[in-house]
Amino acid sequence: MIRFLFKGLIRDRSRTLLPLLTVAIGVLLTVFLQSYIAGAEYQIVEFNADLLTGHVKVMTKGYAAEPDQIPNDLALTGVDKLVADLKTEFPGMTWTPRIRFAGLLDVPDENGETEAQGAVVGTAADILTPGSAEIRRLGLENTVGKGRLPQKPGEILIGEVLAERLRLEPGETATLIGSTMNGAMATANYTVSGIVRFGVRALDRTGLVMDLGDARAVLDMPDAAGEILGWRTDGPYERKYIESAAARFNGRIAATADEFTPVMKTLRDQSDLAVMLDQFGTVRGAILAIFILAMSLVMWNAGLIGSLRRYGEIGVRLALGEPKGGVYRSMLLEAVMVGILGTIAGTVLGLALSYYLQAHGINISGLMKNAAVMLPSHLNCRVTPASYVIGFIPGLLSTFIGTAIAGRGIYKRSTASLFKELET
């Protein structure tokens, strides 16, 4: 029976081509959008995790309550031991301390007095240790526009707009004015080794990157850090895995009220990322629903056209004694076969497009010029196992639903008048 129907579909292309193309295009778009959303979600997670939040972040309870204030007076102490403990307890993760700080960068004139000043928001990470992953995580490999990465203590990177405003060039000296962990004034001279184009306006305007050791020295934070960031290394970011780790860590100290107690926050707990990530799930569901609905309407229409074209054929089959249910079921089977073929074609095309954009990405830096939030400058698709199967949902459902609705006409045919209809 299937073979018979398949031959019919192959030989009568006029009744197959339109539904097949409709399904293929719809599935192509579904697969592409699924991959695009998955890519955007993955990139935003990893971008924020690398730059700011980690998959998890350990801070003191007081620091975690007001992280935007960067309250280094509430920084973690005994960091080396804490990192060692974290490595032991969570072997599937990697951990590294960072210090964020706010301050002023003061540029001297020829007399050593203030010529220009600009506010900075600094990030201090381990960027001098050979092989440190922090350079990659902070996106410094490809963003240094002028000069070079710091190679020794006392060298810093600054944002492009800040450098322009302060008229600083690589090799020149500037003084950082900040506050120590104890609130005292902190000052130190640094050499600008490079100028960075972060691609995010806020960072380009105020961003400063220095080595963790330098920050600890100037901010009087020996063996201290504002944050310890953790990333999963035995697999990609997975919400359950990360939340389980945080719950395990926090479970031990839940009853402690001390504001210096370390607590672990997941990526979703920080920077309103939970809202953004939850929206991805909603958008993905909405896209599927829209495609199923739209394609069903198209397939219904295609089914109606097909029924008109095959009005005579169906009449003969009914006149020869084939039950209406049998005809209806054979048409549904045909629809499923068209759906499968269209879905396969659409999935192949959608995956090809997605793989291409996974490799090359879409440049959205033009949209990010004045962005206050941190988003990557390129969005890449990400082909996931779901990309291979998601097209079958709209592909099969739409053809089946469309044909099921259009095929109801079979039951409205009057057997008594069939021969009369066929004579005309």
Partner: protein, 255 residues
């Protein structure tokens, strides 16, 4: 001498316009609020002085004491050198009228402090640079009204409510507890435009030095910050000291 000056003593003085030189007077009870305010302003010492003082910051992580020596000339000139702890030793600050510079030996830089930095904390204390920069007379920028009476440090005090008459003030309203006989402020509350309490001052000790009453110990609290405030103590003060003019120059910062 008014709230002008430079950290520690300067800051200390900046808190109370009549902080120093309040010769106990008699027969001045019954002054109108405006007259009392002018009296407080008038008690500001116009001469020079050299002071050694300490500032203990009761922060979240414990206490930190910073010791300094200040040379002060009138309202507009002040020079302070930090003596202790070692991390701060050698740091200097110079105030000339409305300009402020700081020098740190580790950077060998003279850095001007202006703009938003003025709102920041001085050395982690409960005072901002802005607190120490405003040297205008209270009677020029506030309208005074009686707001009750209380005893502070066993001294009868009149409470004055000062409401700003100009826009560019850090505190829209102040409530000050004034020892009327000595024209000495013993307690103060500072409020923002919204009516929110921002800072408090509690004088803990007053002494008569060279026939002048001065507050020698006070605690300032920034109520928006955690911690138990910053305690200022004047350890020694020499009035009408001869201070070479060269002290109040940027060149002195590097010496």
């Amino acid at each position: 001498m008014k709230r002008a000056l430079i950290p520690l003593t300067a800051l200390f003085f900046s808190l109370c316009p009549a902080l120093v030189l309040a010769a106990e007077a008699s027969g001045q009870a019954g002054l109108s609020p405006e007259a009392l305010l002018r009296k407080i302003d008038d008690n500001a010492v116009p001469g020079s002085k050299i002071m050694v003082s300490s500032m203990t910051i009761h922060g979240r992580r414990g206490e930190r004491t910073i010791k300094s020596k200040s040379w002060i000339e009138g309202e507009d000139k002040a020079f302070t050198e930090y003596l202790d702890p070692p991390r701060e030793k050698g740091t200097k600050m110079l105030k000339l009228a409305n300009q402020l510079w700081t020098y740190t030996p580790s950077t060998d830089r003279i850095i001007g402090i202006s703009g938003n930095v003025l709102r920041q904390s001085v050395m982690g204390s409960d005072l901002s640079y802005e607190d120490m920069m405003d040297n205008r007379k209270w009677s020029d920028i506030y309208a005074a009204a009686d707001d009750g009476a209380e005893t502070v440090l066993d001294r009868p005090c009149r409470i004055l409510k000062l409401t700003a008459t100009v826009e560019d003030v850090a505190y829209a309203v102040r409530r000050v507890w004034v020892d009327e006989a000595r024209s000495l402020v013993l307690k103060e509350e500072r409020y923002g435009k919204s009516g929110r309490l921002l800072k408090t001052l509690d004088v803990g000790e007053v002494k008569q030095i060279e026939n002048r009453w001065i507050q020698t110990r006070a605690v300032v609290r920034d109520v928006l910050k955690e911690g138990n405030g910053t305690e200022f103590v004047i350890e020694s003060v020499e009035f009408n000291a001869k201070i070479p003019e060269a002290v109040f120059s940027k060149a002195a910062l590097r010496k």
